[in-house]
C-alpha cells in the first residue's frame, strides 16, 4: 500500500530522461553551438546557441524541451504516451540540430570571405548525443518489437538523410572538406572495407577449422589460446612496426612475392597483423560455441544413429552458430578500428585522413576520417547483431 502510494506521489517518472535533459540544457547554456573561423586552419570564434539561431528555431527548441520535460513527469501523461512523446521530440531535436547548424552556416557565410569556415561546436554534438540516448532509453523502456524498432530506425535515417541530401549542410567546413576529398573519400572507404574483408576472410578460413580442431583435441587448446591471447595484448602499432623488417626482407629475397606487393609497408603487414588479431575471437568463439552444445544433445544424436558428419552439420554447427557469429562481430568491429592504425604503415583507409589531418592540424580532415570509421563500426556491429539474433534457433530470439 505504501509502495503504491509513493509511486503515485512521485513527481518525476523518468529520471534518466531528466538527467539527459539537464545535460542538454547545461551544454546549450555553457558550450558553443558552432564556430566561425576566417580560414581552414585557424581556430574559430565560438557562437552560442542563442547567437546562432533565429527566434523561431529557439522557440521550437524550447517547445521540444518542454515536451521532453512533460515526458519526464510521472503525471498527467500515461507512461507509454510519455515515452512515445519523448521519441517524437527526440526525432525533432535531431532534425532541428542539423537544420539549425546548416541554416546558420548559410547565413553566416553570406557576407564572409570565401576562405571563412563554419564548424559544428560542442553543443551540436551533445544535442546529437543526447537525442540518441533519449531514443535508446525510450526504445528500451517501450520494449518494442523488432519491426517497430526498425521503423523508428528508418525514421531516424530519413531525417538524417533529408539533412544531407540537399545543400543544407554543404557550407559546413567538414562538408567542404568532404567535397574536396570526394573521390579520395570513396577510394579510402573502399580500401578500408577491402582491408577488413581481406583480413576477415583468411581469419575465418583459418580460425573456423582451428576452433573445430581445438574442440576435438583438448591437448592443443591451452597452448594455442595462450599464444593467441598474448598476441591480442600487443599494441597494434607495435605489431605493424615489428612486421615491417621481416616482410621487407622477404619481399626483397623472394622477387615474385615482392611483385605481389609483399613489402614492409602497406597492405601486406596490415593484413597479416589483422588476421593474427582476428584469430583469437574466431577460434575461441568457435570452440566455445561447439563446446556449448550439451552432452545430452550429442548423445541423443549419436543414439539416433546420426553419423559424425551429420552431427557436425545438422546439430553442432547450427547450435554453435550464434556464438561463432558473435565472434565474427567482435572481430569485424575490431578490424575496422585496427585498419585506422594501419594507415600509419601506409595501408590506406580512413586512418589516412586522420593522420594526414593530425599532421596538418586540419581538424576537419581528422573528423572526415574519424566519424565515418565510427559510423562504419557501429553499422557493422548492428548488422552482425541482427545476424546473431537471426541465427538463434527460432523461438529463442
Amino acid at each position: 500500500m505504501t509502495l503504491a502510494r509513493s509511486a503515485d506521489s512521485r513527481l518525476v517518472g523518468n529520471r534518466v530522461l531528466l538527467t539527459l535533459l539537464i545535460a542538454a540544457v547545461a551544454s546549450s547554456v555553457l558550450l558553443p553551438f558552432a564556430s566561425l573561423s576566417p580560414n581552414r586552419l585557424s581556430s574559430g570564434q565560438p557562437m552560442m546557441l542563442w547567437q546562432a539561431l533565429p527566434e523561431w528555431q529557439l522557440t521550437a527548441l524550447a517547445l521540444i524541451g518542454l515536451a521532453l520535460l512533460a515526458a519526464t513527469l510521472a503525471r498527467p501523461l500515461p507512461r507509454r504516451t510519455s515515452l512515445w512523446l519523448s521519441l517524437i521530440a527526440t526525432l525533432s531535436l535531431l532534425g532541428l540540430d542539423f537544420f539549425a547548424l546548416g541554416e546558420y552556416a548559410h547565413r553566416a557565410l553570406v557576407d564572409a570571405s570565401p576562405a571563412a569556415r563554419v564548424s559544428q561546436g560542442a553543443t551540436f554534438w551533445i544535442l546529437l548525443f543526447v537525442s540518441a540516448l533519449i531514443a535508446i532509453d525510450a526504445l528500451q523502456r517501450l520494449r518494442l518489437g523488432l519491426v517497430k524498432r526498425a521503423l523508428f530506425g528508418a525514421a531516424v535515417l530519413a531525417v538524417i538523410g533529408a539533412c544531407f541530401s540537399g545543400d543544407l549542410l554543404s557550407p559546413l567546413s567538414i562538408m567542404r572538406e568532404f567535397a574536396n576529398q570526394k573521390a579520395n573519400f570513396v577510394d579510402q572507404l573502399i580500401r578500408h572495407l577491402m582491408l577488413v574483408a581481406g583480413a576477415l576472410i583468411p581469419a575465418l578460413a583459418i580460425g573456423l577449422p582451428l576452433g573445430l580442431l581445438v574442440n576435438r583435441r583438448d591437448g592443443l587448446r591451452n597452448g594455442l589460446f595462450s599464444m593467441l591471447n598474448v598476441f591480442q595484448t600487443l599494441p597494434s602499432i607495435a605489431v605493424f612496426g615489428l612486421l615491417i623488417a621481416p616482410l621487407s626482407a622477404l619481399g626483397r629475397a623472394v622477387p615474385w612475392l615482392g611483385d605481389l606487393g609483399v613489402s614492409g609497408i602497406g597492405v601486406a603487414p596490415a593484413i597479416i597483423a589483422l588476421v593474427l588479431y582476428s584469430l583469437l575471437p574466431i577460434v575461441r568463439n568457435t570452440y566455445s560455441g561447439l563446446a556449448g552444445v550439451s552432452a545430452g544433445t550429442l548423445e541423443a544424436a549419436r543414439g539416433m544413429g546420426m553419423t559424425p558428419r551429420q552431427i557436425l552439420w545438422q546439430v553442432e554447427i547450427p547450435l554453435a552458430l550464434p556464438v561463432i557469429l558473435s565472434g565474427l562481430r567482435i572481430v569485424t568491429v575490431q578490424a575496422i578500428g585496427l585498419v585506422v592504425v594501419a594507415a600509419l604503415i601506409g595501408a590506406g583507409g580512413f586512418g589516412a585522413f586522420i593522420f594526414q589531418g593530425l599532421g596538418q592540424y586540419a581538424i576537419d580532415l581528422v573528423l572526415l576520417g574519424a566519424i565515418p570509421t565510427i559510423v562504419l563500426a557501429v553499422i557493422a556491429d548492428f548488422a552482425l547483431q541482427i545476424l546473431v539474433t537471426l541465427s538463434r534457433p527460432p523461438g529463442t530470439r
Partner: protein, 359 residues
C-alpha cells in the same frame, strides 16, 4: 529379443560392467536398476554401442550388434534420455522426425507418423507441432523425447533415466503413460533407473546390478518376496512391502460393475452412483464410513482410471474417506468401480503365487 552374454566393460583396468548375462524376451519391459556407479547406464549404452564393449556379446533379434555398422544399428533402436536430449534448434515435429528423416522416409509418411505419435502421447499437433523444446514443460519435453525414440518403429526402445529430471507428479503421469504405450505398442523396452518405485511401476523384469555385477534378475514380485540376498532386500526396502505390492496391481485387474441401486445388506458398502446425461458420475450415495446415507459429490481427485495402480486407488479412498471409487474412461464416463474390499480380497486370494509357480 535381447541377449546379453558375459557382457563386460573395462575402464582403466576396472570392470565397471562385469560378466552380465541376461535375456529379455520380445515385448518385455526390462528395468536395469542399482545404486549409482553400478554399471546400469553403461550396460544400456553398450546395447546401441554408444559405449564399445570390452567383452561378451549382445544379440539383438539374432544379430550380433558388434557386426552391424553402428549408425545402422542405432536407427533400429529407439533411444530416449533426459529431456536435454531434444535438439533445441528443431521444432517438436522435426525432433520426432529425426530417425525417419535419417532413414529417408518419404515426407508424407513422416508427417503421418509424427501425427500418429503426437496423438499417442496426447500432444495436440496443431498446438505442439511447431513449438520448440524450450517452450515445452518438462513432462511435454519428455513425451516428445519418447515419441522421437519410437518414430521409426524400432525393434527395441532404450531409455536412460528418462524421467529423472521431472517433478514427482509429472513423473507419475509419465509412468502411467509409459505403461499404456508399452501395452499399445508391445515394444521391447530396456529402461534404466535408480528409483525402485519407478521400477516396480513399470517393469515386467528387473535386473538389479551392484558393482558391475548382476545381483538378481527376476519378475518384480519375486524380487520382493524372494530376494536372493540381503543386498536385494535392502535395496527394495522392507517398509511398505504391502503397498509396494499394490503398486504392481492395476485398477483394471480388480474393477467390477458399478452399482446403481442400494443393497442394504452390505454394511458400509451400500451405495449407488448418480450419472449425468453423458454417463459421467456426478455423485455417490453412501459408502462412507462416517455416514452411510450421505451423498458425496464426485470429484476428479477421487476418481480412478483403469491404468491407475491399486496403491494410488487405495490412497485416494483413504484420503477422501470413501469405500469405492468410480473408474472412468478418457471421456470421463463411468465404466466400473473399485472398492475397498476388492483390494483386501485380492490379497487374501494371494496374487503372489501368480508370478511364483514354484510355491
Amino acid at each position: 529379443m535381447i541377449e546379453l552374454q558375459g557382457l563386460t566393460k573395462t575402464y582403466a583396468g576396472k570392470n565397471v560392467v562385469d560378466d552380465v548375462s541376461l535375456t529379455l524376451d520380445t515385448g518385455e519391459f526390462g528395468v536395469l536398476i542399482g545404486p549409482s556407479g553400478c554399471g546400469k547406464s553403461t550396460t544400456l549404452k553398450m546395447i546401441n554401442r554408444l559405449v564399445p564393449l570390452s567383452g561378451g556379446r549382445i544379440i539383438l533379434n539374432g544379430d550380433d550388434v558388434t557386426e552391424l555398422p553402428a549408425e545402422q544399428l542405432r536407427r533400429r533402436i529407439g533411444y530416449a534420455i533426459q529431456s536435454t536430449g531434444l535438439f533445441p534448434h528443431w521444432s517438436v515435429a522435426q525432433n520426432i522426425a529425426t530417425v525417419p528423416q535419417l532413414l529417408k522416409w518419404p515426407k508424407s509418411r513422416i508427417d503421418d507418423r509424427v501425427d500418429e505419435l503426437m496423438a499417442m502421447f496426447h500432444l495436440d499437433p496443431t498446438e505442439f507441432r511447431h513449438k520448440y523444446p524450450h517452450q515445452l514443460s518438462g513432462g511435454q519435453a519428455q513425451r516428445v523425447g519418447v515419441a522421437r525414440a519410437l518414430a521409426a518403429d524400432p525393434e527395441v526402445l532404450l531409455m536412460d533415466e528418462p524421467f529423472g529430471a521431472v517433478d514427482p507428479l509429472t513423473r507419475e503421469v509419465l509412468q502411467a503413460e509409459m505403461r499404456r504405450v508399452h501395452r499399445q505398442t508391445g515394444k521391447t523396452i530396456v529402461f534404466v533407473t535408480h528409483d525402485m518405485d519407478e521400477a516396480l511401476q513399470l517393469a515386467t523384469r528387473i535386473a538389479l546390478l551392484n558393482g558391475g555385477k548382476l545381483v538378481q534378475y527376476d519378475r518384480p514380485i519375486e524380487l520382493m518376496v524372494k530376494p536372493d540376498n540381503d543386498f536385494v532386500r535392502e535395496f527394495i526396502g522392507q517398509a511398505d512391502l504391502g503397498l509396494k505390492l499394490l503398486s504392481r496391481r492395476w485398477v483394471h485387474q480388480y474393477q467390477r460393475e458399478p452399482s446403481f441401486e442400494h443393497h442394504a445388506t452390505l454394511k458400509g458398502l451400500d451405495h449407488c452412483w448418480q450419472l449425468d446425461d453423458a454417463g459421467r458420475p456426478i455423485a455417490l450415495e453412501g459408502a462412507r464410513l462416517d455416514d452411510d446415507h450421505q451423498v458425496t459429490e464426485v470429484k476428479p481427485e477421487w476418481t480412478a482410471t483403469p491404468e491407475m495402480s491399486m496403491k494410488e486407488a487405495l490412497s485416494r479412498m483413504v484420503w477422501y474417506r470413501v469405500m469405492v471409487l468410480p473408474v472412468v474412461d478418457d471421456a470421463g464416463k463411468l465404466i466400473a468401480e473399485i472398492g475397498m474390499q476388492g483390494i483386501m480380497g485380492i490379497e487374501a486370494e494371494s496374487g503372489l503365487s501368480a508370478g511364483n509357480p514354484a510355491s
